[in-house]
């Protein structure tokens, strides 16, 4: 069933109309990327319908001036805003009529070559601009620009938030992730799936398992194989441990922002416990090297019962601290009403993950498009969800997800004890294969989608789209009534990894 999900168009207008129609009919826009050919560029738009994904593609050919251009989608589809900028940066395709075609991922000097992922040869003369500074948009009395980052205070990833403020208020900010653009897209190219999954793990290190899963699912889809049951269960265990660590990290950062030293230390300890548990199972604190196309690489070095007892006591401690945190007025006061994104907005921008779910929208792939063992394990009837859309709602969603994660891990461990088969991975032989596959997983940040094109059994192009990239754009609008001191809370509540944004 490799290419069933892909629809090819011959004319750009028809393609655009179809994408716009799909989105206006209620489907969620999930991505846009280009695959460069010698002169032309193939655009693929990803659309998430109720229970599946569709890839719509079309080839853009150079106009008489040798320029690649097409009418922008952003004018009709909000979330295409960043994708089109990234597409322009990487593939050099100009979306005509785009509201703001500033560099997002890559700031290049005029006339420089572009990386053009999909085309095998690396660019020969790519000149990055090191001095370009951010745009200033707002005028008004007393306005000044405050650039937070790229060298942030504290131990965090590099990104620049260029805040424009008349003091205290944050009427407007620009997000500039390009500083740490690593060119990951080109790193997939020409690798075997077995090597490329290691790259996928490093798209966003704090969601290594989620990305490895999304990538592996894409490969498995191309190869038409299903991982063995034991691997499917183990994947759930690792994925949920990763989710717990991420959610605990958010809790830690929120407590830190609120100045609750003990709470910060406690949640940091719980997170460390989670990472240590993972490392004692597989050797890596981030579950790296575990997920491989076809299954998992090795059985855990801990027995299922040992894992279960650890996770049970971790749950007890976490739950008690979460309850206490949610009863601490000085904490709640800072979260309530802060960084509100209302449901209409979340819907319009198609926000995913806990961010979307806290604003009453955004599905959870574990429910809507289950992979691995999620379909077999008993999930609560509905994914966690809130309507308020503020920092507090996001934290509530995360608490509830931690509970679900523990339940899922325990259920999976129970089945693992019963399962006696030794097969951990289905064999995959893709040497010389050509194909296209979509893979996805629900990471702690939200929906991870990998669109993989194989050529001669090697990766020709992998569009590794992290939920962080999709969601961070909403950060622009998360400050309707908030001030400087709310910044740390709102940023923490998004819970995103910037490596996955800058790629």
């Amino acid at each position: 069933m490799p290419n069933r999900s892909k629809t090819s168009f011959t004319a750009v207008d028809g393609w655009r109309a179809s994408v716009v129609d799909n989105v206006s009919a209620g489907a969620r826009f999930a991505g846009l990327y280009g695959v460069a050919d010698d002169a032309s560029c193939q655009l693929t738009a990803l659309i998430a319908t109720d229970d599946a994904y569709r890839a719509l593609d079309v080839s853009v050919v150079p106009d008489p001036n040798g320029k690649l251009a097409y009418p922008s989608l952003s004018t009709h589809i909000k979330p295409a805003f960043w994708y089109e900028r990234a597409l322009h940066d990487l593939s050099g395709v100009v979306p005509i009529g785009h509201p703001r075609l500033d560099p997002l991922l890559l700031s290049l000097e005029a006339g420089s070559e572009r990386p053009r992922p999909g085309r095998q040869a690396p660019p020969s003369s790519l000149r990055q601009s090191e001095t370009a500074h951010g745009p200033v948009d707002v005028t008004g009395r007393g306005m000044f620009a405050l650039s937070l980052g790229p060298v942030r205070s504290g131990v965090v990833e590099s990104i620049e938030f260029l805040i424009e403020s008349p003091g205290e208020d944050i009427p407007h900010l620009n997000i500039r992730p390009h500083f740490k653009h690593r060119g990951v897209a080109k790193k997939f190219e020409g690798k075997t799936p077995a090597d490329a999954v290691l790259v996928a793990e490093r798209v966003e290190g704090i969601a290594s398992v989620a990305h490895a899963l999304a990538f592996s699912h894409a490969i498995e889809r191309i190869a038409g194989v299903e991982p063995p049951p034991r691997a499917r269960l183990l994947r759930v265990v690792y994925a949920e441990l990763e989710r717990m660590a991420n959610h605990l990290d958010v809790a830690m950062r929120l407590s830190d922002a609120a100045g609750l030293a003990v709470a910060t230390a406690r949640f940091a300890w719980h997170k460390e416990t989670t990472l240590r548990l993972t490392s004692r199972m597989c050797g890596s604190r981030f579950g790296r090297g575990v997920v491989v196309p076809g299954g998992v690489s090795a059985a855990p070095q801990l027995s299922a019962s040992a894992i279960a007892s650890e996770i049970t006591s971790l749950r007890a401690r976490t739950r008690a601290d979460a309850v206490l945190a949610m009863r601490t007025p000085s904490f709640l006061d800072r979260l309530r009403g802060t960084g509100r994104l209302d449901p209409d907005y979340a819907q319009l921008w198609g926000l995913v993950g806990p961010l979307g779910r806290a604003s009453g929208s955004g599905d959870d792939l574990r429910w809507s498009r289950p992979t691995d063992a999620y379909a077999e394990l008993r999930l609560p009837t509905r994914p966690a969800g809130e309507e308020e859309g503020d920092v507090l709602a996001r934290l509530r969603v995360r608490w509830s997800e931690i509970e679900t994660s523990v339940d899922l891990i325990l259920a999976a461990l129970g089945r693992l004890e019963a399962d006696t088969s030794a097969v951990l991975a289905a064999p995959i032989d893709l040497s010389g294969a050509i194909g296209f596959g979509l893979g996805w997983s629900e990471g702690a940040q939200g929906e991870m989608v990998h669109a993989v094109a194989l050529e001669d059994g090697l990766i020709q192009r992998c569009f590794a789209r992290s939920a962080s990239f999709h969601n961070l754009v909403a950060f622009h609008d998360a400050f309707p009534a908030d001030v400087f001191t709310d910044f740390a809370f709102i940023e923490a509540s998004f819970g995103l990894g910037y490596a996955g944004v800058a790629m």
Partner: protein, 267 residues
């Protein structure tokens, strides 16, 4: 207020390393060890392992097998293919004061040069004494490195007990801890931060990414490690470098790593 008893509930969680042994420190698989006597360099399995290495960390030439931990991302393939030569080694003491020090296997002896480097570093850090401030800069990591660096302040590692603190201003910093591959975009901010620090300064490259660019470095955004941008004093391998490896690297820079104990010492 109710947080105060909560903080006391679970007793002391903090590791006692480096004063005392720590199981997690010793048990963590932080590197690949090479036994050059395990098989000849010409052994086909060694060659296969070298080919299978996704970061080309293994060289098998006529005079022996070498593995560059600064390139290794610990995928463990070599240990699967040629377990006689390559083994996953436990113990977090993997940092080195010279880039060459990360190459294991049959290596030329460089004791003299190494001693000179150590002496120079020791001279430089003498004035830092027992209160040291670290400025961290992400120069293009995958995000996991920051988690590991951040973990150093959690109650389990608690580097404050050692007089080491993170600071936001490079003006107050003694150590520049760099993670990530060193992308073109971060070169200038990184240089500016280094320039803003008061001498003496110690630069630590944290993780395989920062050491060599690892798996994702070396593309069109350059990124073959921060050594291309700054003079690095201490190299900490690991993908990402675990908190204990980082702590070991920091103490190594400060000359505060305790001498290695005998095997089977008191627990």
């Amino acid at each position: 207020m109710p947080w105060v008893p909560r903080g006391l509930r679970n007793g002391v969680l903090t590791s006692r390393w480096p004063r005392h042994q720590d199981d997690y420190f010793d048990g963590f698989a932080a590197a690949i060890a090479v036994d050059p006597t395990g098989a000849a360099a010409s052994d086909p399995r060694v060659a296969e392992a070298a080919r299978a290495c996704p970061t080309d960390a293994i060289t098998a030439t006529g005079d022996g097998v070498r593995l560059d931990r600064g390139r290794c991302i610990l995928c463990g393939r070599c240990a699967e293919i040629a377990p006689e030569v390559f083994t996953i080694a436990t113990g977090s003491a993997v940092a080195a004061v010279a880039r060459d020090g990360l190459v294991v296997g049959r290596v030329a002896e460089t004791d003299e040069a190494l001693a000179a480097v150590r002496a120079e570093l020791a001279q430089r850090v003498k004035r830092l004494r027992r209160s040291v401030h670290i400025r961290h800069v992400d120069a293009g990591s995958d995000g996991s490195d920051e988690w590991e660096v951040q973990a150093l302040v959690n109650p389990v590692y608690d580097i404050h007990r050692l007089g080491i603190f993170f600071t936001a201003s490079p003006r107050h910093a003694d150590i520049l801890l760099v993670t990530g591959i060193g992308t073109s975009g971060m070169r200038q901010p990184l240089r500016r931060t280094r320039e803003a620090m008061p001498e003496p300064v110690v630069v630590i490259a944290a993780g395989t990414d920062a050491t060599s660019g690892g798996l994702v470095g070396g593309g069109y955004t350059a990124g073959t490690g921060v050594g291309a941008v700054l003079d690095v004093d201490v190299w900490v391998p690991g993908s990402p470098a675990s908190p204990f490896s980082l702590l070991h690297g920091i103490l190594l820079a400060l000359g505060r790593v305790p001498p290695p104990r005998d095997e089977g010492g008191t627990k």
